[in-house]
């Protein structure tokens, strides 16, 4: 039989019908559906045995302790550590720190800048040789900037600086620096500490206590424990927090009350409160108490209200509560954790002295200063004496600059000027985990492990109420070709014939660990903290009314709006940029595509002829930034609130192309008498773009 067209059609029809009676169509239908749940391009779960290691975040300014969950030896999660003096939750930076090990912005290998200006890879051996040559040549004209104020890497850097005969070693500006300077001016040989744990009423002036001031997670744990949830059997709150500041920030959201004040008037408000306390009979023992009293008297309630914009009724209630509290505590700081100078901290200390809580339970405590672990190295407070912004302004360009986890080209006031300064330095090396703005300008970029991948330590971050020393052990295998900064420096020093006494950083940490009672290195490395209640005896202080009088003099704002910068941890730090998992936490009212929002209240906006959603230009006289306006009623009158952390030009796609860097607007000016620069009182004009 010849198979003709008709026959073929019949064959096909038969086959078609026959197939329906086989598993083919049905199995394929089912398997196709099963295929959709197992697409090869979707990552699979990788099982394994769960184990835990412990570390302390070197990335998050809160120095939060972390319990790292490992699955089959692979880190997957950061979990909180309860019962640790710095722990009790995780911050929005630290909680995805494991994931940040894989950020696209990481420096994977040592890089040097070739003649054509582009980065080329080189081996660590070559990199170290190059570094050694350059530092040898620069000698005493080498400067150091560290962005990690709590670690012992600074000991190594400063010992090395000393060995080189170099004096220019700096830490990035911070609240700790302001406080250290304040303590020094007042003649207190101690690190100021705050015994939040035992306080029952905290007035935070400017200090964004629950988001960016001090060891935040510890602060927030205390808030958690001190404020039982409002239930049926409601216990009276053990801890009340009042907040004075220009922006209704994270702290203000839960503070009762929020006292809105003009930005940069924290010190004046403190003096105003001092005046009210003195009027109620408070005093302290100080050679210049009478001067202080006179100075405070200038800030009678009316003047205080005028200068700070504070609501007197609310203020009086707060003062009353302070007086009534068993363990009142005043914390003065900056809404963006930098740049407010020493004077406000001094005024705050005087307030605490008026409340009689120095070295008392729940008050301000005087902690022994952190000491260096290497002979010849400077202690932290010594390094704090050097003001980085002032030094850069002086433009005494060094021959070589060593940066450790510091991003001054982004984080200092006037980043453009800082970048120009950096460009003038013949050799710059950045030890950095991420390719940040500063690293991108350097001649040599050396990848270091992020906190989870390296051994490091944390020594009593500013804000603690007791001495806390933690070792952060290596929790995870590095995801890049990294070395520890300190190890590299120790090695280079040795090669240069300047033995610093340690072969490895770990050895230094081991000698530090044994200083603490009942703690050995292994215990600390396993995640425990060494805690010491030791305090420096309080033997009086000088209020330094002379300094306060000059430094806290009222400023005329003129036609300008006060600039109120504020910091939020979910935007990361200058070192990290916005962590990948955090972009989703930015609200639609904070960032829209490339545009960031700045905020002012409706009355101020109306005054300026602006309305919600307008594109505006903020002009500090020197620099401008563009942003969108959000009308938000939680901002002080005549003030524009701006958030730090946007406007990265380096790092990765999670940080880039998002808003503008507010530091552009900041103008650092010397704070009279204190030797520090301040930039918290910047004024700006705001106009429609």
């Amino acid at each position: 039989m010849v198979l003709d067209r008709r026959g073929f059609m019949k064959f096909v029809a038969g086959a078609g019908l026959g197939v329906m009676a086989t598993p083919i169509p049905w199995k394929l239908l089912d398997d196709a559906a099963i295929w959709t749940q197992n697409w090869s391009w979707i990552p699979r779960n990788v099982k394994g045995e769960t184990s835990y290691t412990y570390a302390v975040s070197k990335m998050c300014p809160s120095c939060v302790p972390m319990k790292v969950r490992m699955v089959g030896g692979r880190p997957v999660r950061v979990l909180p550590v309860d019962g640790h003096p710095l722990g009790g939750g995780v911050s929005s930076i630290a909680v995805a720190e494991v994931q940040m090990m894989f950020s696209p912005g990481r420096v994977k290998r040592p890089l040097y800048r070739a003649a054509d200006g582009a980065f080329r890879e080189l081996s660590w051996a070559e990199a170290v040789t190059l570094l050694q040559q350059k530092l040898q040549a620069a000698g005493s004209s080498t400067a150091f900037i560290s962005g990690d104020e709590n670690g012992s890497t600074n000991d190594v850097l400063s010992a090395f600086a000393r060995a080189l005969g170099a004096g220019d070693i700096f830490l990035m500006p911070s609240e700790a620096q302001c406080a250290a300077r304040a303590a020094e001016l007042m003649g207190i040989p101690a690190q100021l500490g705050y015994d939040l744990e035992n306080s029952d009423y905290v007035l935070a002036i400017g200090a964004n206590l629950l988001e960016s001031w001090g060891p935040v997670i510890r602060n927030r744990r205390i808030f958690r424990d001190g404020r039982p949830v409002a239930g049926k059997k409601e216990l009276p709150a053990r801890l009340n927090i009042a907040y004075a500041g220009a922006v209704q920030n994270n702290t203000a959201a839960v503070a009762r009350p929020w006292l809105p004040v003009y930005p940069g008037t924290e010190g004046i408000l403190a003096l105003g409160i001092a005046n009210m306390l003195i009027a109620k009979g408070c005093s302290f023992d100080s050679p210049d108490f009478s001067e202080f009293k006179l100075l405070a008297a200038k800030y009678n309630p009316e003047v205080t209200a005028k200068e700070t914009g504070v609501d007197l009724k609310k203020l009086e209630a707060v003062v009353k509560a302070l007086m009534a509290a068993k363990a009142p505590l005043v914390i003065v700081g900056s809404e963006f954790s930098q740049g407010s100078g020493a004077a406000p901290v001094m005024a705050g200390f005087a307030l605490n002295a008026l409340l009689g809580n120095i070295n008392k339970s729940g008050g301000v405590c005087l902690l022994p200063r952190a000491e260096a672990g290497i002979d010849g190295a400077s202690a932290r407070d010594e390094i704090f004496k050097n003001d980085l912004t002032a030094w850069i302004a002086d433009r005494k360009t060094p021959q070589a600059l060593v940066l450790h986890e510091a991003n001054p080209a982004y984080a200092l006031p006037g980043p453009q000027a800082v970048a120009a300064f950096l460009k003038a330095v013949p050799f710059k090396v950045s030890f950095s985990t991420y390719m940040d703005e500063t690293a991108a300008l350097c001649d040599l970029v050396l990848p270091i492990g992020m906190g989870l991948e390296r051994i490091d330590d944390v020594n009593t971050p500013y804000g603690c109420g007791k001495t806390v020393y933690c070792i952060s052990a290596v929790a995870a295998d590095p995801r890049a070709d990294v070395h520890n900064t300190a190890n590299v420096i120790l090695h280079v020093a040795k090669e240069m014939g300047k033995d610093l006494g340690f072969e490895y950083y770990e050895d230094l940490l081991k000698t530090k660990a044994v200083r603490y009672e009942k703690c050995d290195f292994a215990v600390l490395a396993a995640g425990q903290a060494a805690v010491s209640e030791a305090r420096v005896e309080f033997s009086g202080f000088t209020a330094r009314a002379d300094v306060l009088a000059k430094a806290l003099s009222p400023k005329t704002r003129g036609n300008k709006l006060g600039l109120a910068p504020y910091a939020k941890l979910n935007l990361g730090t200058a070192k990290t940029g916005i962590p990948p998992y955090n972009t989703k936490t930015l609200r639609g009212t904070e960032l829209d595509g490339k545009d960031m929002y700045v905020m002012m209240n409706a009355k101020t906006a109306r005054k300026k002829g602006l309305s919600d959603g307008d594109m505006v230009v903020l002009d500090s006289g020197k620099q401008q930034i563009r942003a969108r306006l959000r009308v938000f009623e939680g901002v002080m009158m005549d003030t524009v609130a701006v958030c730090l952390g946007y406007g990265h030009t380096a790092l990765d796609e999670f940080s880039q192309n998002k808003g503008a860097n507010v530091m552009e607007l900041m103008v650092a000016v010397p704070e009279p008498q204190t030797g520090l620069n301040v930039w918290s009182g910047t004024g700006v004009t705001v106009s429609k773009a």
């Binding site: 959709t36 749940q37 697409w39 979707i42 990552p43 699979r44 779960n45 990788v46 969950r69 699955v71 692979r74 997957v76 999660r77 909180p80 939750g89 995780v90 911050s91 929005s92 909680v95 995805a96 994931q99 090990m101 894989f102 950020s103 629950l210 988001e211 935040v216 997670i217 927030r220 744990r221 404020r227 949830v229 409002a230 239930g231 049926k232 209704q248 994270n250 203000a252 959201a253 839960v254 809105p260 609501d311 995801r479 939020k568 941890l569 979910n570 990948p580 998992y581 955090n582 972009t583 989703k584 936490t585 930015l586 639609g588 009212t589 595509g593 409706a602 009355k603 009623e633 999670f654």
Partner: protein
């Protein structure tokens, strides 16, 4: 609609809005725990995958009387689900001891009817396949399957942790239920705190309390029973959610539901005529 199911154990939350500062740690903890992919530009909030969103609440008063509050919104795990009843393929249901509304990714066909039904916007669709920056997929947890494009997902109260907590008990040779104090009741043998969601665990402020709403020994029970400050979102819809919010501020509580002008802020059974 199917009859409401009651369970011995009803996992739930009490979120103290007087404690939440809106820092976002819970959102990040949630993403890391549940294998949600990060995105570089997250400004289109209607397209961003977040099982837990922190809303900003305002009392809508002008400066200086303005107040702000933050409201974390996980899946409310309704006992009367608007979503599960409409799913055409039983990809979501509430049928297990514990009262957590399930979401089964390999069953979901992606019709998004459940999203249209959920008034809490707790459901999210995978508009594209999830993509992690190169290598970051190595940091995924093994406990939650990664969802492909085209399926709906939502907060599961970290259900995998519940499973693991139960397994731990079993490995110790223990029962997973214990008798309750009241006759005829039984509770999960999982000790309070041994099963908590990732968000509750991460929150430094302790704003999120997690536990069994039926167990009088649990904090979450104590916080939500007869507490005039406790309320639930859109209670008058009758969804009977397992997420309670707590605030001593009346304006915050009032924002938890829609009220007519002359209605006072209180539990819906007092506003509404009794349901037949």
């Amino acid at each position: 609609m199917s009859a409401k199911k009651e369970f011995n154990v009803k996992w739930g939350m009490a979120i103290d809005l007087d404690k939440c500062t809106g820092c976002g740690a819970c959102m990040v903890a949630c993403q890391a725990e549940n294998n949600l992919a990060p995105v570089a530009d997250a400004s289109n909030k209607l397209r961003v995958m977040n099982w837990l969103v922190v809303f900003e609440l305002s009392n809508n008063k002008e400066f200086p009387d303005h107040e702000v509050a933050y409201l974390p919104r996980p899946c409310q795990q309704c006992a009367e689900q608007p979503c599960a009843t409409v799913c055409p393929v039983v990809a979501t249901e509430r049928n297990e001891e514990g009262g957590i509304v399930s979401q089964i990714y390999p069953r979901c066909i992606g019709c998004r009817y459940c999203m249209a039904a959920c008034p809490y916007h707790a459901r999210y669709f995978n508009w594209f396949d999830p993509v992690w920056p190169k290598g970051m997929e190595k940091a995924l947890t093994p406990d939650v399957s990664v969802r492909p494009r085209g399926v709906v997902e939502k907060c599961t109260f970290c259900h995998h942790r519940y499973m693991m907590a139960k397994d731990k008990l079993r490995a110790q040779g223990k029962n997973i239920f214990v008798k309750g104090e009241k006759r005829g009741t039984k509770h999960s043998a999982i000790a309070e705190g041994d099963y908590v969601t990732s968000c509750a665990e991460a929150c430094p402020n302790g704003a999120i309390v997690f536990g069994d709403l039926n167990n009088p020994a649990h904090r979450v029970y104590q916080l939500t029973h007869d507490n005039p400050n406790a309320f639930r979102l859109l209670e008058r819809l009758g969804t009977d959610t397992a997420v309670y919010y707590i605030s001593s501020r009346e304006w915050v509580r009032r924002l938890g539901d829609n009220y007519l002008k002359d209605e006072i802020t209180q539990k819906p059974e007092k506003i509404l005529p009794k349901k037949h």
